[in-house]
C-alpha cells in the first residue's frame, strides 16, 4: 500500500515538473514548486514508513515548517518590484 501511495505521489511530482517546465507564466512555475514541496513532504513520510524507520520523520517536519518561506519571499519580491515600477512611473 505504501508503494501504491508513493507511486501516486511520484506521478504527481512528474505532473508538477511538467507544469514547471511548460509555464506559461512565472506564477505557474512557482505554483509547481509549491506543489512539489508538499509532495516531497508526503513522499518522505511514506518512504520513512516503507523503510521501517519512522524516527526519520524529522526531515519531513523540517520541510513542512520552512517550505513556506521561499513562497513568501517570492511574494515580497513581486511586491517590491511592483512598487518600484509604480515609483518609477510616478517620477
Amino acid at each position: 500500500m505504501y508503494i501504491a501511495v508513493s507511486l501516486a505521489i511520484l506521478v504527481t511530482m512528474v505532473l508538477a515538473i511538467v507544469r514547471a517546465l511548460r509555464g506559461p507564466s512565472v506564477y505557474d512555475r512557482v505554483l509547481a514548486v509549491n506543489v512539489f514541496g508538499t509532495k516531497t513532504v508526503l513522499l518522505l513520510s511514506v518512504i520513512a514508513f516503507l523503510y521501517g524507520r519512522p524516527d526519520f520523520l524529522d526531515l519531513a517536519l523540517a520541510y513542512a515548517l520552512i517550505n513556506m518561506v521561499g513562497i513568501l519571499a517570492v511574494l515580497e519580491f513581486f511586491q517590491n518590484r511592483t512598487r518600484n515600477r509604480e515609483e518609477a512611473s510616478r517620477d
Binding site: 514548486v33 524516527d55 520541510y63 515548517l65 520552512i66 513556506m68 518561506v69 521561499g70 517570492v74 515580497e76
Partner: protein, 326 residues
C-alpha cells in the same frame, strides 16, 4: 523497490538541471533550483544519509531562494541572448561527460560492501564510537570529535565568507538617493501570511533547537540547526519588515554570534591543550573520558550552530539593506 524510486528521482534531477540552464528568465532558474534541491534531499534520504538530507532541506528550502531573490532584485532579471561559442562548449562538456562515464565502470557499484571506501577508517568509527564516545549518531561523533579539525576549518570558511559579504556589501553605494531610504513594510498588510507566519516562527526556532540538542541521538547538529533558526528569523523579517528583525536581533548580536561561535570552537580546543590533551581532544575535559567527549561535542555543536546562524543572518541582512538603499 526503493531503488526504482531513486532511479526515477535521479532522472527527474537531470531534466530539471537541463531546464535550469536553458531558462532565459533568471527568476525561473531560481525557482527550478529549489525543485532541484528538493529532489537532491530526497535522493540523499534514500541513500541513507539522513543528516545530509536534513542539511540540504534546511539550506535549500529557504535560505538559498531568499538570497538568490535578493540578488535578482538588485540586478537584472533576464538573461541576454548569447551568440557563438556554444558548439565548442557543448563538444567539450560532451567529451568530458563520456570520459567520466567511462571511468565510472571502474568504480564499485552502488552499495558494494567491499568498496575501498568502506575498508579504511569507517569500520573503525562504527566499531569504536560506542566505546569511546557513546552517542548513537556516528555522523555527529565523526563530525565533532574524530574530524574536529575539518569542522573547525569549515566553520572558519563560513566565518570568512560572512565577513567577505559584509565588506563587499557594507560600503555605501555611490548613487545613494537619500529620501528613498524608507523602511520596507514587509508583508505587514497581508493578514493571512501574517497570522500563520507569526504562529510558525516560534515553532521553527523550537524545531531548530531540537535539531541542535538532539543531534547526538538522531539526524541533526549545529549546521542544520543554525540554518533552520536562521530561516525562522528570515521568515520574521519577511513578515514584519527587515528593520523589525534587526530590532529583535541587532547586527552587533549577529556579529557576536558569528565571532563567538568560531571562538567557542577554537577555545574548547585550546582548553583541551591546557588540560593536558591534544588540540580538540575532549577526553581530558572530564575525569571520565567518555563524559569529556560528550561534553566537548555538545559545546562544539553549540559553537557551530551559533556561527552558522549568525553568518547566514548577517548575509541576509547585508543583501536586504542594499535593496533598501538602492
Amino acid at each position: 523497490m526503493i531503488f526504482v524510486f531513486s532511479l526515477f528521482l535521479l532522472s527527474l534531477l537531470i531534466i530539471i538541471a537541463i531546464a535550469i540552464v536553458q531558462a532565459k528568465n533568471l527568476f525561473v532558474s531560481v525557482m527550478l533550483l529549489s525543485i532541484f534541491s528538493l529532489l537532491m534531499a530526497t535522493n540523499f534520504f534514500i541513500l541513507d544519509a539522513a543528516d545530509v538530507a536534513l542539511t540540504e532541506a534546511a539550506v535549500g528550502a529557504g535560505i538559498t531562494t531568499v538570497i538568490f531573490l535578493s540578488a535578482l532584485a538588485l540586478t537584472a532579471q533576464r538573461e541576454r541572448k548569447v551568440v557563438g561559442g556554444r558548439t565548442i562548449a557543448l563538444i567539450a562538456v560532451g567529451v568530458l561527460a563520456s570520459l567520466i562515464i567511462y571511468a565510472t565502470f571502474e568504480k564499485p557499484r552502488l552499495g558494494d560492501p567491499n568498496a575501498p571506501v568502506h575498508q579504511h577508517v569507517a569500520p573503525w568509527y562504527l566499531e569504536k564510537t560506542p566505546e569511546y564516545i557513546d552517542i548513537p549518531n556516528i555522523v555527529t561523533a565523526v563530525l565533532s570529535s574524530y574530524r574536529g579539525y575539518d569542522t573547525l576549518g569549515e566553520v572558519f570558511v563560513v566565518f570568512t565568507a560572512c565577513i567577505g559579504v559584509l565588506f563587499i556589501l557594507g560600503a555605501k553605494p555611490a548613487s545613494l538617493r537619500g529620501e528613498r531610504n524608507v523602511e520596507r513594510a514587509g508583508l505587514r498588510h497581508h493578514l493571512i501570511p501574517q497570522v500563520v507566519g507569526r504562529l510558525l516562527v516560534p515553532f521553527i526556532v523550537l524545531f531548530g533547537l531540537y535539531v541542535q540538542f538532539h543531534g547526538e541521538y538522531g539526524p541533526g547538529g549545529g549546521f542544520q540547526a543554525g540554518a533552520i533558526i536562521a530561516t525562522g528569523v528570515i521568515l520574521y523579517a519577511l513578515l514584519e519588515g527587515e528593520a523589525a528583525a534587526l530590532r529583535a536581533i541587532p547586527r552587533s548580536v549577529l556579529l557576536g554570534l558569528v565571532v563567538g561561535g568560531a571562538l567557542l570552537f577554537g577555545g574548547v580546543g585550546v582548553v583541551c591543550m591546557f588540560m593536558g590533551g591534544a588540540f580538540l581532544d575532549y577526553s581530558v575535559l572530564q575525569s571520565d573520558p567518555v563524559w569529556g567527549q560528550q561534553l566537548g561535542i555538545v559545546i562544539i555543536e553549540a559553537g557551530v550552530g551559533m556561527a552558522v546562524c549568525g553568518a547566514l543572518l548577517s548575509i541576509f541582512h547585508a543583501f536586504a539593506a542594499r535593496e533598501i538603499a538602492q
